[in-house]
Amino acid sequence: MIPVRANMTDRQLYGEGSGLAIHVRRRLPGFSLDVAFMANRQRVVLFGPSGAGKSLTLQAVAGIARLDGGRIVVAGETLYDSEGGINVPPQARRVGYVPQRYALFSHLTVEQNIGYGLHRLQATERQARVREMVSLMGLGGLERRRTSELSGGQQQRVALARALAFSPRILLLDEPFSALDVPLRGELRNELLNLEEKTGIAMMIVTHDLADAFLLGQRIVVIDNGRVLQEGSQEEVFYRPATRKVAELVGIRNIFPATVIAVEGESAYLEWNQVRLEAKNSSQGLQVGQRVDVCIRPTQIMIRRPEDAAFRGRMNVLDGAIVDEVINAETYRLFVRVTHSTNRSDLEIELPGNTYFRLGLDRNKAIEMSIRPDLLHVIPAAAPSP
């Protein structure tokens, strides 16, 4: 363990190569976990629905969950390797673990909580380090309080301070914002990012919240039912999902089946509801006649005004009619049936309230929509299971 010296900057402690390689396997009654992913000096987000196995994976990295097998390498150091018989106990892993409900020591003060991991230091060093953390996390004045007297946001800061105090090699956060209300969430998200900038610490964050995943994840690992469905950058996971399931999980609400009718270089031409669509940049490996799923986010479909004249560049144009509307606080969700379709509705469009009014839209109104070819994402349809 690197001894903590009060005059050492935290960036010096973390060094180079926060290479992360995780493979964890565990079989539980009714559930089987087999998750593998890698990352390098990035903020890693484990994203997926509840019960996917994200928390279990995080706990395995912390050394507090039993595994059947696998390998865990953090910052280039092997913490667990079932083949090599390595299993470093949690006490020696130097990880800063913050569970969902913080698990603060309710019988200790804020100061004592923060200093709990510093028991090997001399009293003066420990006090100095605790003071540093109190100042870093903005907890001044609360040092002597019991943790049960604090607000949710303050408790979270104490939990973070406690985890960071002994300069861990990585911060493991389980649903850090789920217990907080929306404005506080945004505030603490930014604080977390500032913290990372100031200290340079590596982070692995578990979340089922789409917004958290998008805003915090440099490398996003999508986990569902104990398996990794996709890992990649925000751009890749959110706009180029690899499978239909991932598309659903990242909130793409328009996923419809189509057939490939032609492939020309970067573009694939598809047929759907007697409409010809062009999808750019998703054409790799597609064969003519192949069944595919097409994805487009509700915010990426534009409604043309009748007066709109020619376009710049080629666009996919569809005719349809609005069949239903759902009004949220600031946005309108429109459900549209495309001409010639036999479904009740085919596409969902989301737009800001003032755009809705500016376009003079209304229920049952006939509209013309356009979609940029590079925003249509194509996923090969999964073979039907036997």
Binding site: Q59, A62, G63, I64, P89, P90, Q91, A92, R93, V95, G96, Y97, P99, R101, A103, L104, F105, S106, H107, Y116, G117, H119, R120, R146, S148, R162, F166
Partner: protein
């Protein structure tokens, strides 16, 4: 009160005190193990722990008498090699009382430990503390109310024990006669005044011990 009764009080407190100590040394680790671990044979262990609650105290005392006395190898070893004669001594009575009080302590302490969120202990482990360290710095302080109650129960029970203690230690005034036994003695002798007085003293001890421990742990365990 006559001097005989004071000796009874002293002996009762000695027996209860030593019995409680035995219960703590053996019972607290057992309670924590039962609270935290799942293992094969756990059911059997829990049954064994509960057993003294349903066994007749005189039967427990009888088997202890046979097991600790000269007629058994254990008893012979203890007397000859260790120099400890346990039968007909207050220390022997304490062992008898301990066996009967242990289930109360273990079950109450186990429930107290189960109330402590295991997540808190897991976090403590990631912060570098050993399992033993975590027990003393986190688990025990958080469970102190229940553990204090468990100790108080054990003490009060041991102070009042009759069947096992009289079997193992007999009824020697000034040496092994506890207050419970003294009440029995007084009634046998027809001295109801002494019986009443002795019974009141015994009740007072039980109540005071319960009160003292819950007060103490209330102060320690205040969150």
């Amino acid at each position: 009160m006559t001097s005989i009764e004071l000796a009874d009080v002293r002996i009762t407190l000695q027996v209860a005190g030593l019995a409680t100590l035995f219960c703590i040394l053996v019972g607290i680790p057992l309670a924590w193990t039962l609270a935290r671990y799942r293992f094969r044979g756990r059911g059997l262990l829990e049954a064994l722990v509960t057993l003294p609650l349903v066994l007749p105290p005189t039967v427990v005392g009888y088997y202890l008498l046979r097991g600790l006395g000269r007629s058994s190898p254990v008893g012979r070893f203890l007397e000859d090699d260790v120099g400890a004669r346990l039968v007909f001594t207050w220390e022997g009575a304490a062992i008898g009382a301990a066996v009967l009080s242990a289930p109360l302590l273990i079950r109450t302490a186990q429930a107290a430990f189960e109330q402590v969120d295991p997540e808190v202990e897991r976090v403590a482990a990631t912060l570098g503390h050993s399992r033993l360290g975590i027990f003393f710095t986190v688990t025990l302080p958080l469970a102190i109310r229940g553990v204090g109650a468990a100790i108080a129960l054990a003490f009060a029970r041991a102070a009042g024990e009759f069947g096992a203690t009289i079997m193992v230690a007999g009824n020697i005034p000034g040496k092994t006669r506890t207050l419970s036994v003294a009440v029995y003695d007084a009634v046998q002798a027809g001295d109801l005044q002494r019986a009443n007085a002795t019974a009141l003293v015994l009740i007072a001890i039980s109540l005071l011990s319960l009160l003292a421990f819950s007060q103490a742990t209330g102060l320690l365990g205040r969150r």
